[in-house]
Structures are given as structure tokens and as C-alpha cells.
């Protein structure tokens, strides 16, 4: 089948979702109004609360939510065939992710731009707030461990990308200094920065760097993971303007360039989808598609991480309540488009079915490497770019996304440790350096605990990461639904995704628990158990909070 059909159906469906479904949500469910004074306008202070142009805000929201996760998840999930992944990404974006992001911004804007965590405490209860912080901690822990493994794999798989990946950090450092210290004009700096980055990508394949067989007794994969965490620890301690801010900016530009180039290449080359529609011949050891598909693809279909961005920064800058639709829903659509590109690359970028099966020889294989390999083949066929350069370009894109997430994730994890240090009066833990070391230590323990001595099996926790992420999404949807019940608005459109996501998460956790038990993998078994307990608590909280809200609503309408 032609991949253009996939592209048109997918993007068309998402566009329809934005133009029709989100409009319906805005009018009937959330009842947005231009008259409502948003927190950005009400508390404008030039720092936190700044009314911002909706296109700029959308750019932000989109680039902060779209990272490596919507690439890795779909590229693993196509092992069940292209159709399930395609349907879940498309329908998930329309009916789940869009509603979730849009709803999270709306809920926050209606409550003085408070974060979802605080809102969980206020709207649902203090117990839910406690569960929320535990779930966030687990998500951060897993995302850091997994992305460390992902980048290490990318660097080993494509030695030509080592120079551009680390070179990009140098470019970011220079951009940061040029803008912050020398106050140079942004368009000029961006142009020079992008040219420098692509020059590095261009020369990368001719200067491959591989680590020797053993670095201080560690295999190359383990050594890269350790190096990456040392780097991330240092980066997360630096002031944000030095590295994080300019790198985020370059990533944003990269995302737009990469996405446009990939879709243009699909249009020109029209590659054939070689992967089966539904893979009846899955490799041994592949778990059942239902429910694992729904947790393997979290970002790209629905992801709780977005709620943190929506309510933390985006809601403080929304100029009009009606902008929430464009920023939230269309932001999620952008991420869906990235996930769709990952699906096309991982299913249509191979010459034959046998080639595809060789890559997807067991569950957890393929993933981001299949995205790079397939995507590079499509890019090279569509644009005439040298295949090694195309592969390096996509590797750098994925590695930079994952790197920025690691840096931010480690920073957030450190804040949590510091907060615990203050709450429980543990002096040393409240300091940045020990808290960072503690964060790095826990992540490394997870990466090596799950992945063995060389850390290469660390992707086993990917579905577990998906479940935790979905739990977070469930909590956000719960906050939105409770608010809707209190306002007497229709709740079906947020309640249905909530029930579905929670049911699939619980189901997936049980299936994985059984799998880890059978393999006698006690480390992951314990992790799974912890997440499962959190999931059960979240479910109980949902039932209790909704019951309470319904009774309250009934009583107040009876009183009227």
C-alpha cells in the first residue's frame, strides 16, 4: 500500500478533529468565552504571567510536548502491524490527546493558572495530590533511564552521529552566550546556528567515533549511558539560559525542519508500506496487542506529561480563553503528526517485508533505530540526500530530543528530592548537588537493573513508562471531569477517555506483572507492583471523587 494514503488519512483525520471536534468541545463542553479574563491578563507581571500571541504559544506548547517519546513508542508498536498503531495514534490524537491537553489548559486557566498537581489537591483531595507526586516521580525516573538507553543505542548504531550530537551542545552554548551576553539579533543567530548544526551533520559520517570494546571495564553501551548521565547531571545544574534554553530552541527548529522534510519526502518518493497490516506472525515473546498497544504508544496518542506543560507554563500565558482550543488541541495534533511520521518511517522505509522482519525480530526491537533507518531511506529517496547524512540527521534529531528531556527530567527530579529534603528536614538532601547525585543514582540503578550489565535491555521498561504516563493523564482527566460535573456540563467526552485509559493501564500492568513473574525478573516485577498499587489508588480516587462531585451537584441543583 502507498504510504501517501496513510499520510492523507491520518493528517486528514486529525485536521477534521481540530476543525470539527475541538470546536464542539469548545462550545458545548468547555463553553469558552472571549469575555473571561485569563490569569495572564488578570495577573500580568512580565515574568510568569504574560499574555502571549497564540501562534507563538502554540509553537512552544507543541515543541515542548513533542520529543523523542512520540517517535520511540509508535516505532516499537508497529510490531503488531501498521494498522493498530495507525488507528490508535489517529483516533487517540483526536479523541484522547486533544481533549486531554485542551482540558488541562482550560482547567488551569479557570483556576488562576495553577498546576495540575495543585489542582488535584484542590479539586479531588489531598490523598490524590500525594499519589500525583509519586506518579510524577516514577514517570521522571523511567523517562530518564529509558532515554539514556535510547541515546546510547543511537550513538552506537550510528557512529557518524557522535560528532554532531555533542557538537550541537557546543552550538547551543555559543547561541546562549551570543543572545544573552552579546544581545545579538535572534534571526541572525538562529540562521548561523542552524547552518553550523547541519554542517556538523553533513561532516558527521566522515568522522565516525566509536568507543573501544571496554571502557574501564564497561561495554560501549554502558559507558555511553554513564557518560550521558554525567553530562545530564552537569547540564541540569547549569543556569537554564546557558544550555537548556538555546538547546530547546534549536530542537524546536529541528522539529519543524525534520517533520517538513519527512512529509515532503513521503510525498515525493511515495514509499510502499512493507509491514503487514496486522502482524499475525509476531516474534515469540511479544505480549498481546490489547492492552499493550495502548501503553506502548503513550505520547502521540495520550500522554500525562502534556498536562504538566499545559498547566505549568502554557496556561499562565494564554491571552484569551478561546485560544486554549488552538494551543492545546492543535498542539496535540502536531505531536500526532510526528507519531504518524514515525509510523510511516518504521513501516515504509524498508525495501521488503523480510528486511522489516529482520529489524523487528523481537519485542522492544526496532523502535528508534527502525525510525532512523526507515526514515533515512525515505528522506534519501525523496530528497536525493546521501543516505548516511539522512540517517545522521534523524539520529541527531532523536538524540537531541531525548537529551533535552533527560536534562529537564533530571532537573525536575532534583527539585522533588530537594522538596522532600525540606519537608522531612533532611539538610543534605535539600542541596542541589546531593539531590542531583541521588536522581542520577536512581536512574542509573533503574537503567542497569532493568537492562543488565550493559544497559542495552533498558527498553524493557518502555511499556511500564507508558503505563505511568497514562496514570498521570488519568489524574488530569479526572480533575477536568470533576470540574465539568460541578459546572453541569456534559462529562462523557472526558469521562470516556478516562475510563478507557485507566482500564487499559490496569490490564497492561497485570499482564506485564505476569510476564515478569514468569521470567523471574524480580526487579521489574517490583517496579510493576509499585505502579500497579499507584494505579489502583488512582482508580479508587476517581470513583470516590466523581461520586462526591455528582452528589454535590445534585444537592446544589435541588437547593436551587
Amino acid at each position: 500500500m502507498s504510504s501517501i494514503i496513510l499520510m492523507v488519512l491520518g493528517l486528514g483525520g486529525m485536521a477534521l478533529g481540530f476543525f470539527v471536534y475541538s470546536k464542539f468541545l469548545a462550545h458545548v463542553v468547555f463553553k469558552l468565552s472571549d469575555q473571561f479574563k485569563t490569569p495572564a491578563v488578570e495577573f500580568e507581571d512580565g515574568i510568569d504571567f504574560v499574555p502571549t500571541n497564540k501562534f507563538v504559544l502554540w509553537g512552544h506548547h507543541f515543541t515542548s510536548v513533542a520529543g523523542a517519546a512520540p517517535i520511540v513508542g509508535p516505532a516499537i508498536a508497529v510490531i503488531w502491524g501498521w494498522l493498530p498503531a495507525f488507528l490508535w495514534v489517529t483516533l487517540g490524537t483526536i479523541f484522547f490527546a486533544g481533549v486531554h491537553d485542551f482540558g488541562a489548559i482550560w482547567a488551569s486557566v479557570k483556576n488562576k493558572a495553577k498546576s495540575v498537581g495543585t489542582l488535584t489537591g484542590e479539586v479531588v483531595g489531598t490523598r490524590a495530590r500525594a499519589i500525583f507526586s509519586i506518579v510524577i516521580f516514577l514517570v521522571l525516573l523511567m523517562v530518564n533511564a529509558v532515554f539514556g538507553v535510547v541515546i546510547a543505542k543511537l550513538l552506537i548504531n550510528n557512529p557518524g552521529s557522535v560528532v554532531p550530537v555533542w557538537g550541537a551542545i557546543a552550538v547551543a552554548l555559543v547561541i546562549g552566550q551570543a543572545i544573552y551576553r552579546a544581545k545579538m539579533s535572534l534571526p541572525l543567530v538562529s540562521l548561523v546556528g542552524v547552518v553550523a548544526l547541519y554542517f556538523l551533520i553533513y561532516i558527521g559520517p566522515s568522522m565516525p567515533v566509536s568507543l573501544p570494546e571496554s571502557v574501564a571495564g564497561l561495554s560501549p553501551s554502558a559507558a555511553w549511558i554513564v557518560i550521558l548521565f554525567v553530562y545530564a547531571a552537569i547540564a541540569s545544574l547549569l543556569p537554564v539560559w546557558v544550555l537548556l534554553q538555546p538547546r530547546d530552541y534549536i530542537n524546536g527548529l529541528q522539529l519543524f525542519v525534520g517533520l517538513a522534510a519527512l512529509y515532503a519526502a513521503v510525498l515525493i518518493a511515495n514509499p510502499t508500506v512493507v509491514a503487514p497490516m496486522i502482524n499475525v506472525d509476531v516474534p515469540a515473546g511479544t505480549p498481546s496487542m490489547i492492552p499493550l498497544l495502548f501503553v506502548t504508544i503513550a505520547c502521540g496518542a495520550i500522554s500525562g506529561f502534556h498536562g504538566l506543560v499545559s498547566s505549568g507554563t502554557t496556561s499562565k500565558q494564554l491571552a484569551k480563553e478561546t485560544d486554549a482550543r488552538f494551543v492545546g488541541y492543535f498542539g496535540a495534533t502536531g505531536e500526532g503528526a510526528l507519531a504518524l511520521a514515525a509510523i510511516i518511517a518504521a513501516t515504509a522505509g524498508f525495501a521488503s517485508l523480510a528486511d522489516w522482519q529482520a529489524v523487528y525480530h523481537s519485542f522492544g526491537q526496532g523502535g528508534v533505530l527502525a525510525f532512523v533507518e526507515g526514515g533515512a531511506a525515505i528522506l534519501s529517496a525523496g530528497t536525493g540526500l546521501d543516505i548516511a547524512v539522512a540517517a545522521t540527521m534523524l539520529t541527531v534529531m532523536a538524540a537531541l530530543f531525548a537529551g533535552t528531556t533527560m536534562d529537564t527530567g533530571l532537573r525536575l527530579q532534583r527539585y522533588i528530592f530537594q522538596e522532600w529534603g525540606e519537608i522531612y528536614n533532611i539538610k543534605w538532601m535539600a542541596k542541589p548537588l546531593p539531590a542531583t547525585l541521588l536522581s542520577v543514582g536512581t536512574c542509573l540503578a533503574l537503567a542497569f537493573g532493568a537492562g543488565g550489565a550493559d544497559g542495552s535491555g533498558g527498553l524493557l521498561i518502555w511499556p511500564l513508562f507508558g503505563t505511568t504516563n497514562q496514570l498521570l493523564a488519568g489524574l488530569t482527566l479526572l480533575v477536568v471531569t470533576v470540574m465539568l460535573v460541578r459546572r453541569g456540563s456534559p462529562t462523557f467526552f472526558t469521562l470516556a477517555p478516562l475510563v478507557f485509559v485507566l482500564a487499559m493501564t490496569l490490564f497492561a500492568l497485570l499482564i506485564q506483572l505476569k510476564g515478569f513473574y514468569e521470567k523471574a525478573d524480580w526487579f521489574l516485577f517490583t517496579m510493576d507492583l509499585v505502579v500497579l498499587v499507584a494505579a489502583i489508588f488512582v482508580t479508587l480516587e476517581c470513583v470516590a471523587a466523581l461520586k462526591r462531585a455528582k452528589t454535590e451537584a445534585r444537592l446544589s441543583s435541588a437547593a436551587d
Partner: protein, 92 residues
Amino acid sequence: MKNTLSRLKYLYRKASRAGADYYNAPYRAAIARARREEDDLFMLLVFSEMMGIPNPAGWYCMELQPLMLERFHDWHTRMGMERSPLDNFRCC
């Protein structure tokens, strides 16, 4: 020709503003906080002699005190002191 040039200039300025917005928006708060921490340290240095911390540049710091007056109230409340901590430097 002149028209096109001025139009291009206008577009460049507009793009530059939007770009700056895009670059700064997510980190505005973090940078403002970091800057405030630096300012707080500077405030402590300026008033250090009065608090019994020897400061070799104390004489020059005195000249700065009137300039810092406006921000003094914010500073001492932020530092957890309801009133001015200095005997001879009243605030609220």
C-alpha cells in the same frame, strides 16, 4: 524597490520579535528568579557593614544605599524579616 525593501525590513523586525518571544517565553520566570537571587546577594553586600560583616568596599557601598532603597522593603520581607533588620536604617 524602496517599498519592497521597507516591507522586508518590517517583516524581518516582526519575525525577530516573534522569535524573541518564542525564545524567551518558557524560561522568563526561571531567569527572573535567578536574577533576583543575584540581586539579593548584592543587596546583602551593600548593607553588609551595617550587619557586622566586614566589607572592604564598605565606603563605596554606602553611596549605593539610597539607590537600593526602593527595593529594600521587598528584600527584607523576602528574607523572612518583617521589619528592617538594621537599627539605623528604618523601613516600614
